[in-house]
Amino acid sequence: MIRNPLVRAELVKARASRTGPALAVIAPITCVLWATLQALVFDGLDALPAASRVENVYAMAQQAYVFTLILGVLAMTGEYRHQTITWTFLTTPVRSRVVTAKLVAWGLVGLAVACVSALATLVSGAALLAVRGLPVLTPGVPLVLLGAVLSTTAYALLGVGLGALIRNQAVALVVALLWFMYGDYLLSSLAPDIGRWLPTGAARALSGMHMQAGALLPAWAGGLLFVAYVAATVLAARLVTLRRDVT
């Protein structure tokens, strides 16, 4: 199916290690838990119209982003941590090709995790809403799920870019998690006007979600902005860390 040997080699690595498959299983479970929580607090959120609240249940498919982000970071920094980067660069000495192959391969892995997560969220969300006698679907639900799949996939790419830029695995993970679980939200609440321009704001726009403070960009613009962030981290990695000596 996939012809490019470098991408195929990355997929062999993804299958062979234990962390990857484990995170790929935890991601949809987390989404189901979040969707359950949304369905349980449904009545308490009556400031929002019922249709938005239904969509918010399914929007929990986006919570898989943490795991695809981690997968991307681990994919790149694991090479430095275990010094397999030496074998990788001996086989493929043009280093930017390695990063490109990782972006493609882990984009595909991210897409697979995102699809499974969206499916799990859809099934569990619909069941919960039906059991509670609430409306199960709205016209906006397909777009919400599509947006969640796109943004979850995009976070895998951002993880690879960050991992290429920050070679130390522990540091890269801490930076990625602090930044994307808390940092952007904190900044957005301090300065609502810049929130939409941050990666999290862009991802939320892409996934059709709402932020409490400040309006988001349109979905397409959010998607483009997020891709620009990925491109910026990869470019920074090429200029700074990727060309460093491997000793």
């Binding site: 040997p5 470098l6 195929r8 080699a9 062999v12 690595k13 062979a16 290690s17 234990r18 962390t19 694991g78 275990h82 010094q83 397999t84 030496t86 074998w87 990788t88 660069f89 001996l90 086989t91 493929t92 000495p93 043009v94 060309r243 000596d245 491997v246 000793t247």
Partner: protein, 230 residues
Amino acid sequence: MATAITVNNLSKSFGAVRAVDEVSFTVEPGAVTAFLGPNGAGKTTTLRMILGLVAPTAGTAMIGRTPYIQLTSPITKVGAVLEATAFHPGLSARAHLDVLRTAAGLAPARVDLVLDQVDLTRAADRKIGGFSLGMRQRLAIASALLGDPEILILDEPANGLDPRGIAWLRGFLRAYAHEGRAVLVSTHVLAEIERIAGRALIISAGRLVRQAELTPDSTDLENLYLEATR
């Protein structure tokens, strides 16, 4: 076959430290070339510059007539054994080789072949995390052989090998050179390398201080080394 490796005025500085200082030499096919020198003399840095892992401050290193990083399928031209510990501990030996094999676009049968060559067939499906140092070293050699290269570059390959492993490696490198291929090997084990090397390059404090043809049974390599690195 033409000259395998040509190193020309190669230099590398780490900050103020001149790790490698205008080193020039060639490595010819059909012989084992010993790369000798004290710890910190610049052997590893030189080998890593030849392999495109470390960028030279000045000078060039060519595989044939091409820098390593411009080779189209590098592991089919040059096999390298650099560090015994550089494996993902969660992978099996077979999976590790399969990743490299896939990335290089080589035939799947190569994996079983090199596993057999280094006598790791029985351990092929065990996790590398449980491997002994000697097994890791043999896996590193298997990785280097995957592309059936014309040139082998080995950094301290005897590290961690037991006497049987060392005897195997000696026979293997000798046979490899006899087939008309080039072998460049850095080592501290002079008595060992003396038995198979046709040439010695001695580096000290970043400078190439001696190049010598070796004749089995007539050259005292230890004396040569001690004199050159004084």
